[in-house]
Amino acid sequence: MEFRDNKAIYLQIAEYVCEHILLGKWKADEKVPSVRELAVAMEVNPNTVMRTYELLQNKNIINNKRGIGFFVDEAATANIKSYRKQQFIADELPVVFRNIYLLNIGFDELENQYKTFVKENFNA
């Protein structure tokens, strides 16, 4: 995997796992790759993946069945969304807001842009 250089590796691996769950590649109650398997696939230190899995366990996105391995939590999708939302509001939204303010973009215009974007990309 290509890592970006602006974010801790363990968080980038967390995004990768979340992405797989959201896209339905890894389903609820299914086993996720072991720490070692994922470390080998990502070419990273297993301790880094362990840190990722601890984080995802805290967020109730995966759970640890002792002796068997890590599994996708029943409520993983909802928990990923709330975790992502928190992150988006904390990290990305301030940057967007700053540009909206600096460029003086009105909320009406923004709403129109948003609706067009959703239509074009998600056919909603």
Binding site: F3, R4, D5, N6, K7, A8, I9, L11, Q12, R36, A39, V40, A41, M42, E43, V44, N45, P46, N47, T48, R51
Partner: protein, 275 residues
């Protein structure tokens, strides 16, 4: 796993390499040993493996004093030197002569590793390229199942696919019982494999900290302008790559090259953070 207490060593009396160096290393980690040319990286590794002897202080490696070179210890150390010699024999004769020194030697694992590294088992060692030889001794070293794995510049001479292969192999080779120490200048080859950084400078350990500790205390960022909060910065295409105290609890990615240069240039600024 390893305890170094007040180690003193130098190749000549007037030029000490280590003065009262102390450090502890534990299993379950991949340590990245960094330092300028001549800082003593290889020499420290040789001290640990019993290839040179301390002039003062104590070394304890898995309960042994490496200077005594007891077989019980040496069979638990795999040392991959930067420069090495391989005799003009075929792989199987080399194994017959050398594998018996390691009671836990795993022939099946060796076969797997050689396959992953794309080396035919029928090869004569002398006919192989430098990179192939290097891959062979890495594979042999890991197949010894030694608990202490020491590698001096392991990625030198490896081609691009072999480097990726090497990272995968090392990621799977780390177990809770093993301690892996890798000295390197090729930081970009290995930075995601290393979980703890050891940096040697001016006869001592300039920094020993886990990646987690470093990125908790320091932030690595691109900035447009330099201000007083920044410890060290290097110009880049879009401003500067900077290291600064992590005031805002940011989770940045450790830039090992930048950290290396920063510590060489601004040692006094970093000292109080890591003690």
């Amino acid at each position: 796993m390893i305890e170094i207490n007040n180690l003193n060593f130098g190749y000549s009396k007037h030029k000490p390499l280590f003065k009262n160096m102390s450090m502890r290393l534990s299993n379950g980690h991949i340590y990245g040993l960094l330092g300028k040319n001549g800082a003593g990286k290889s020499t420290l590794l040789k001290n640990l493996a019993g290839l040179v002897y301390p002039q003062g202080g104590q070394l304890n490696v898995m309960g042994f004093n490496p200077s005594k070179r007891q077989p019980a210890l040496l069979s638990q150390i795999c040392f991959i030197p930067e420069e090495f010699y391989l005799p003009p024999v075929k792989i199987d004769s080399y194994l017959k002569a050398n594998a018996p020194f390691y009671p836990n030697f795993d022939h099946e694992y060796l076969a797997t590793l050689l396959k992953e590294f794309d080396i035919p088992a029928s090869n004569k060692l002398i006919d192989m390229s430098y990179g192939q030889k290097k891959k062979f001794i890495i594979a042999f070293g890991l197949a010894t199942q030694a608990r202490l794995v020491i590698m001096d510049e392991p990625t030198n001479g490896l081609d691009i696919p072999s480097k990726a292969q090497f990272r995968k192999i090392m990621a799977s080779a780390l177990t809770d019982e093993r301690c892996i120490i890798i000295s390197t200048h090729q930081v970009r080859d290995l930075d995601n494999l290393i979980d703890t950084v050891i940096m040697l400078d001016e006869n001592d350990v300039a920094l020993k900290a886990s990646v987690e500790e470093i990125t908790t205390k320091l932030a690595f960022k691109r900035v447009k302008e330099i201000d007083e909060s920044i410890f060290y910065a290097e110009p880049s295409l879009s401003g500067y790559n900077a290291v600064m105290p992590n005031y805002h609890h940011e989770e940045s990615k450790l830039d090992m090259e930048l950290l290396f240069n920063a510590i060489l240039a601004e040692k006094t600024k970093f000292k109080p953070l890591f003690n």
